[in-house]
């Protein structure tokens, strides 16, 4: 167990260090979420207030964009695994006494950490645009935890797909196929109250929606802690399930070589 944690730690350090060497990636990580926030904020301005506490759509939108970002971050994180497979780095770790689970787990942890950092950037930009975190300190913490969990849910899924398909093109197709529908079947952009009935029904089972609602409770309402706790528990369960799925896919990869 101790070895698993140590190895996961080194792998996370490795991935982070590698990402930090890509100036474009850093720019994307920082600028893209801001772009979403400003762009959607303008686009849907007329939609107006959708919450009780403040008149601005931006305050409604910010938690949604934080969720969207964590979701897409997780969804695309499997690309790193494909590049490691292509460069045979995975095989090199497998021929050494590496804790097997660390190879996949570290990717999920890395996606979670990235999501937390992006959430922090988004909240700071939001503050500048007049957003207030009505849940206070507990609200901030909730946003960070939810971001990490949502990213982990889809990082697990994404790595499973990456390990099964092992090709960038297939991975991109799968991420798009799953990504956009899940985004629109959630309350990221519009409140549940404005959704058609069937979408509202589907959204209840969508992890992206759980995260968006948990974050909205923390930022916009500063309340509903009970439902938020339920959403977080659900996210923990699904993150565990997708991580298991990724681990299972990793075993399948090991059997295939």
């Amino acid at each position: 167990m101790k070895q698993l944690f140590r190895h996961t730690g080194w792998m996370v350090v490795r991935q982070w260090r590698n990402l930090m060497r890509e100036p474009i990636w850093i720019a994307m990580m920082v600028i893209q979420p801001m772009l979403w926030l400003v762009l959607y904020g303008q686009l849907f301005k007329r939609v107006g207030a959708q919450g009780p506490s403040s008149g601005s759509y931006i305050e409604f939108l910010t938690p949604g964009i934080v969720a969207m970002n964590a979701f897409f971050g997780g969804m695309w994180s499997g690309m790193a695994m494909i590049s490691d497979l292509d460069r045979h780095v995975v095989d090199r770790f497998l021929a050494a006494p590496t804790a097997r689970a660390a190879i996949v787990l570290s990717q999920v942890v890395r996606a979670g950490i990235t999501a937390i950092m992006q959430a922090a950037i988004l909240l700071l930009v939001g503050l500048a645009l007049g957003v207030r975190v009505h849940g206070g300190f507990a609200g901030w913490v909730t946003v960070f935890i939810t971001s990490a969990l949502l990213a982990a849910v889809f990082a697990g899924f994404s790595h499973g797909i990456a390990l099964l398909m092992r090709r960038e093109a297939s991975m991109i197709a799968a991420a798009n196929f799953v990504g956009l529908p899940l985004m629109f079947l959630s309350s990221i952009l519009v409140s549940v109250a404005l959704m058609p009935g069937w979408i509202r029904g589907v959204a209840r089972f969508n992890p992206v929606n759980w995260a968006a609602r948990a974050m909205r409770n923390a930022i916009l309402y500063g309340g509903y802690w009970g439902p938020t706790a339920v959403y977080l528990c659900l996210l923990v369960a699904v993150a565990a399930a997708t991580s298991l799925f990724a681990t299972w896919c990793f075993r399948a990869y090991q059997r295939s070589i």
Binding site: H7, R14, N18, D91, F93
Partner: protein, 316 residues
């Protein structure tokens, strides 16, 4: 004690029988060559011995540990330099080595000292702090070897260490391997499809063909066991003559084999056979450009034991 023992290993990938009962053993401190064309089963054998792949049947021991029962003990005792580089392109040479050392349980000053030592040994000290993306093919290969050596393994697997290198880099790599074998007192299992490479580096070789070891011994032994010499006839014109020449030469020598306008055969005595071959070709009206004889090479050994030309057996 033997450093590597493979017993009747089999492995099937879908329709392909990659290993069909591979058995051999490597003594401690020896440089051993697994020789064969691509697709013969060399890499699969190495993947079984390095615990990456489980065989369908058979047993294997590396550094005294059972590959199937105690894979993690085997992993701790071996270094593996795969056919395809496992270098992390986005990390520096030093970072690649440090991470590998940590995975093997090394730490602190001891690890850093070992990494410095290896960087010097493979001539990467100056490039150590540069990201590996910018390394040449030869530099990446040397880094791969250093990665395989960080934890002072007892057995080193080199899977096609010079494939994809230009001739100059290949020669340099040979010197490198010879030096490492001496400096680190290692057992080395080397796979290659270059006959000259096995001849040069390996103390003993096993020829692998279609998932089986067809013969095992020192390169000299193998060549000596092959009686006679090879005769190569170069035809002056190719149109239709190759077929006639093959038939005519086949009456005199054995193991006839054609490559372009070159027809090669094996005879007990070259000096006696050449006049007969030339006479027979002249009678058949086939003009000859040149004739050469040679002592048997590993190439001939390969042809003899597999019945196939080495190059033409190279499927991929």
């Amino acid at each position: 004690m033997d450093a590597i023992v493979a017993e009747e290993l089999t492995k099937q990938y879908k329709a392909v029988q990659a290993l069909d009962g591979v058995s051999f053993s490597v003594r401690e401190g020896e440089v051993f060559g697994l020789l064969g064309p691509n697709g013969a089963g060399k890499s699969t054998t190495v993947r079984v011995l390095t615990t990456l792949t489980r065989p369908d049947s058979g047993r294997a021991f590396v550094a005294g540990e059972d590959v199937l029962r105690h894979p993690n003990r085997v992993r701790g005792a071996i270094g593996y330099v795969a056919q395809d580089s496992g270098v992390d392109w986005e990390a520096t040479g030093r970072e690649n080595l440090l991470l590998q050392g940590r995975i093997h349980g090394m730490a602190g000053r001891q690890l850093h000292a070992r990494v410095d030592e290896l960087l010097g040994l493979v001539g990467l000290d100056e490039a150590a702090n540069r990201v590996a993306r910018g390394y040449s093919g030869g530099m990446k290969r040397r880094l791969d070897i250093a990665i395989g050596l960080v934890h002072r393994p007892r057995v080193l697997f080199l899977d096609e260490p010079t494939t994809g290198l230009d001739p100059e880099a290949r020669a340099a790599m040979w010197v490198e391997v010879e030096r490492l074998a001496a400096a680190e007192s290692l057992t080395i299992l080397l796979t290659t499809h270059y006959l000259e490479e096995a001849d040069r580096l390996a103390e003993r070789v096993a020829i692998v063909s279609r998932g089986k070891v067809v013969v095992e011994g020192t390169p000299d032994e193998l060549k000596r066991n092959l009686q006679g010499e090879s005769v190569t006839v170069e035809l002056a014109e190719s149109n239709g003559n190759v077929e006639i020449a093959t038939r005519v030469i086949g009456d005199i020598g054995s193991e006839v084999n054609v490559e372009g306008q070159h027809v090669r055969t094996r005879v007990p005595n070259g000096a006696a056979a050449i006049p007969r071959i030339l006479g027979a070709l002249d009678d058949a009206g086939v003009p000859v450009a040149s004739v050469t004889t040679a002592r048997p090479s590993l190439d001939d050994v390969y042809l003899h034991y597999t019945g196939r030309e080495f190059a033409s057996d190279d499927t991929t």
